[in-house]
């Protein structure tokens, strides 16, 4: 180790081109002028996350202002074309924007399955009319989407799904049940995998969109071990879906689903990254104390935390490299599976250690002091990271088959 103290390295400005440097300066100035101070504080709870949608009630005026300003600039979806509510930024410019937002501790103005999952799929597979209808409301945070994938008997083996869409000429009629539908009870629209051909497993699935307010849609939240209900059972009873809401080709929805899952996996994989607020080791130092040598006064826990943080630092660099590889057209298409696998496992490790760090204080479930058991609930919530969006075991199967090309995988 060098003995001189290394501050967090300055954001990578050294190799900016003149154009990029100008964009960086402009971006920084705009963010400083437009990001409300409240939106530069670490989030205190789930309420501080902005999901948008018809049912959304902002937790503060600043939250709404920040969303509206960013949306007006196209920066909730910076790389999308301007016609669809984006800013048409290059991927390098978007990287600069992300770096500058991180440098100022700006919160994400909008979390959205529409942005992370449906948007990329519509941009690739949607018709012009579909893009114009659905993308701008996503960018503005007006419509909140949920994903209808898993079913009671189609989990890891998703392609065995049975929810049926019957062709009625000008429309489909959908009947069946989904499960683990994230925030279905809060969502406005759903993108949904349905069976349109029972004689063909993978080539009998279609990708459709419909309004959750349609007659025949019912949601039932599922109480989890964390005490929260982020997932629902979703029931469809003769739901009418217009033909124009079919995305891609009939019976070829699996291609759309696979493409979209790649984005979902990257998103879940990045959880370990986004959640990294204050280094775990420093939180531990504050909670447990240091010994005379300035080391955490719990040597075995210190060793585990340090090993975790080394892995976390390396994984963050891998996320950065994955972006650079993608920009250089060098990324393996199955790389998101690796990121999803590792990010999920890393986040579970973080929260096991977090519980160890805070000991009895992290066990309280209801007190105001513990913000209603925030730590314990988050710890329990992370256990789903390696299940949702394809289990860790499924990701390892995908790596084996598509990257390592092992036989019979």
């Amino acid at each position: 180790m060098a003995t001189s103290p290394a501050a967090t390295p300055a954001v990578g400005t050294a190799d900016d081109t003149p154009d990029l440097a100008a964009f960086r300066a402009e971006t920084r100035a705009w963010l400083q002028a437009n990001c409300p101070p409240e939106m530069r504080q670490p989030m205190a709870s789930e309420e501080d996350v902005c999901w948008g949608g018809r049912k959304f009630r902002p937790s503060s005026p600043a939250q709404k202002l920040w969303l509206d300003r960013m949306a007006a600039r196209g920066w909730t979806v910076p790389t999308w074309p301007q016609a669809y509510g984006g800013a048409g930024l290059s991927s390098l410019q978007a990287k600069v924007l992300a770096q500058e937002m991180r440098a100022l501790n700006c919160r994400s103005p909008l979390n959205s399955f529409g942005i992370w999952m449906l948007g990329p799929a519509l941009l690739k597979f949607g018709t012009e009319a579909q893009k114009l209808e659905h993308l701008p409301p996503i960018a503005r945070g007006e419509i909140r989407w949920c994903q209808g994938y898993s079913e009671p008997n189609a989990g890891s083996d998703l392609a065995s799904l049975a929810t049926k869409a019957e062709d009625m000429g000008d429309h489909f009629v959908v009947n069946g049940q989904k499960i683990w539908t994230s925030y279905a009870d809060k969502a406005d629209w759903i993108f949904c995998l349905v069976r349109t051909d029972t004689s063909n497993k993978h080539n009998g699935i279609s990708f459709v969109l419909f309004d959750m307010a349609s007659p025949g849609v019912r949601t039932q939240p599922i109480l989890l071990i964390s005490g929260a209900s982020p997932f629902c059972e979703t029931f469809f009873d003769n739901v009418r879906v217009e033909k124009r809401n079919l995305v891609g080709t009939l019976n070829k929805g699996w291609d759309v689903a696979k493409y979209l899952l790649g984005h979902e996996r990257e998103m879940i994989g990045s959880i370990g990254d986004r959640a990294a607020a204050r280094p775990l080791g420093l939180q531990a130092a504050a909670a447990i104390g240091l010994d005379a040598q300035g080391r955490l006064a719990d040597p075995l826990l210190r060793a585990q935390i340090a090993e975790f943080e080394v892995d976390e630092a390396a994984f963050r660099l891998m996320m950065e490299r994955a972006g650079d590889l993608a920009r250089g057209k060098q990324a393996h298409p199955a790389l998101p599976s690796m990121l999803k696998y590792y990010g999920a496992e890393l986040n579970k490790r973080r929260w096991e250690l977090m519980m160890g760090v805070f000991g009895a204080d992290a066990l309280e479930w209801e007190s105001d002091r513990s913000r209603h058991g925030d730590r314990a609930r988050t710890w329990l919530r992370t256990k789903a990271n390696s299940i949702e969006g394809g289990t860790s075991e499924v990701q390892l199967n995908i790596i084996s088959k598509r990257i390592l090309e092992l036989p019979g995988a």
Binding site: M1, A2, T3, S4, A6, A7, P9, G12, A14, D15, P279, G281, L282, A284, A285, L290, G294, R295, L296, R302, A303, I305, A306, E307, E309, V310, D311, A313, A314, F315, L317, M318, E320, R321, D324, L325, R327, G328, Q330, M338, Y341, Y342, E393, Q395, L396, N397, I399, S400, I403, L404, E405, L406, P407, G408, A409
Partner: protein, 374 residues
């Protein structure tokens, strides 16, 4: 800076791959070992290293080198790892060259750097004194005597010590100072004992007993010595990490090939999920460690004095990942992996040495935590 190789760097990697796989495959190391080669490396190959520019990769152009950076040096070390090529490149071309470039006087640089770049001399750092790497607990001392210095101490794990022309010796100066001293291998009071290592690479124990040095033997000053030493070690650690990941990638590729060919129970063993998932986890670890390595190399090039934390992450990850890779390599090759006739064991042995060199993953994980402030 993007965390991928530039076109030039990728070209250097490809040419190093072609050159080394042709000129120095693993069988060359076996040959050196079995013939009890007196040098422990091939001098003709070493001369070719100079022609290829490897020995001068970090030497400034003014002194006859290529004046490139640690990413380029790492790209070559990576390919050396693939072929387990034994050479003084790590000790001389990277570590000693870094120390001389960082802190050498004009005269010191002029005396040594052109010869190191041309492979006409070998220099090596003498730092460790016991089994574990503890660079901040030096027992070796240098006392001012007349206009010069008197050096006393004993060093171990001195890479290529028995073929070195120059030692760069880390010693305590006074109560708080650290000095790096240039010591001619032939100086009176220097005693070298070659200690061939488990991986058939060169190391030595070197004693310095009342070695008299001129005032011009000191590299930099006792005040800057600690910083120079730290930066020099970081360059070495990062290069060792590159060699580790190179050898780990090679073992992994060979192992994946093997489980696609070996049949048991009427199946290719690569069809068994018990192996598939372990291979997939290892793949993830290799890729993630590579990202950390590239970042550390870029950090060294940006500012070698503040790259410590990035290097600690890279060396810790590379040490752990390579250790897993060689163990899985031997296990998945089954009994064949245990035979000397098969090459996998050579990789395991080299990984053990590189893991230990200039701090194992415990050392660097601990350093990372201290750096973070806990």
């Amino acid at each position: 800076m993007a965390l991928i190789l530039t076109d030039d760097q990728a070209q250097l990697r490809d040419s190093a791959r072609d050159f080394l796989s042709e000129q120095s495959p693993v069988s060359a190391l076996r040959q050196l070992r079995d013939s009890h080669d007196a040098d422990g490396f091939s001098r003709p190959l070493w001369a070719r290293f100079a022609e290829m520019g490897y020995t001068g990769v970090l030497v400034p152009e003014a002194h006859g080198g290529l004046g490139l950076g640690h990413v380029e040096a790492g790209v070559v070390m990576d390919q050396i790892g693939h072929q387990l090529c034994a050479s003084p490149l790590l000790a001389s071309g990277i570590v000693a060259t870094t120390a001389l470039t960082l802190a050498g006087s004009t005269a010191q640089q002029a005396a040594w750097l052109p010869r190191l770049a041309a492979a006409q001399a070998i220099a090596t750092l003498a730092i460790d004194e016991a089994g574990k790497h503890r660079p901040q607990q030096l027992a070796t001392t240098a006392r001012a005597e007349g206009a010069g210095w008197l050096l006393d101490g004993a060093k171990t794990l001195v890479l290529d010590g028995h073929v070195a022309d120059l030692f760069i010796v880390a010693a305590r100066v006074g109560e708080a100072g650290t000095g790096l001293f240039l010591v001619d291998a032939g100086a009176p009071g220097v005693a070298v004992e070659r200690t061939v290592m488990v991986d058939a690479h060169n190391a030595a124990r070197v004693r310095f007993q009342g070695v008299r040095l001129g005032a011009d033997a000191l590299l930099g000053t006792p005040e800057t010595g600690a910083a120079t030493l730290a930066a020099t070690l970081d360059a070495g650690r990062c290069a060792a990490a590159a060699e580790l990941l190179g050898l780990a990638d090679e073992v992994f590729a060979r192992t994946i090939d093997y489980i696609k060919q070996r049949k048991q129970f009427g199946k290719l063993i690569g069809e068994f999920q018990g192996l598939q998932h372990r291979a997939a986890v290892l793949y993830a670890d290799l890729e993630i460690s590579r990202a950390a390595l590239l970042k550390a190399q870029q950090a060294l090039d940006a500012d070698i004095h503040t790259a410590g934390r990035a290097v600690a992450v890279a060396k810790a990850r590379a040490g752990r990942t390579a250790t897993t890779a060689v163990q899985e390599g031997v296990q998945m090759h089954g009994g064949m992996g245990m035979t000397d006739a098969f090459e996998i064991g050579f990789f395991m042995k080299r990984a053990r040495v590189l893991q230990e060199l200039w701090g194992d993953h415990h050392f660097h994980t601990d350093a990372f935590a201290s750096h973070r402030g806990y």
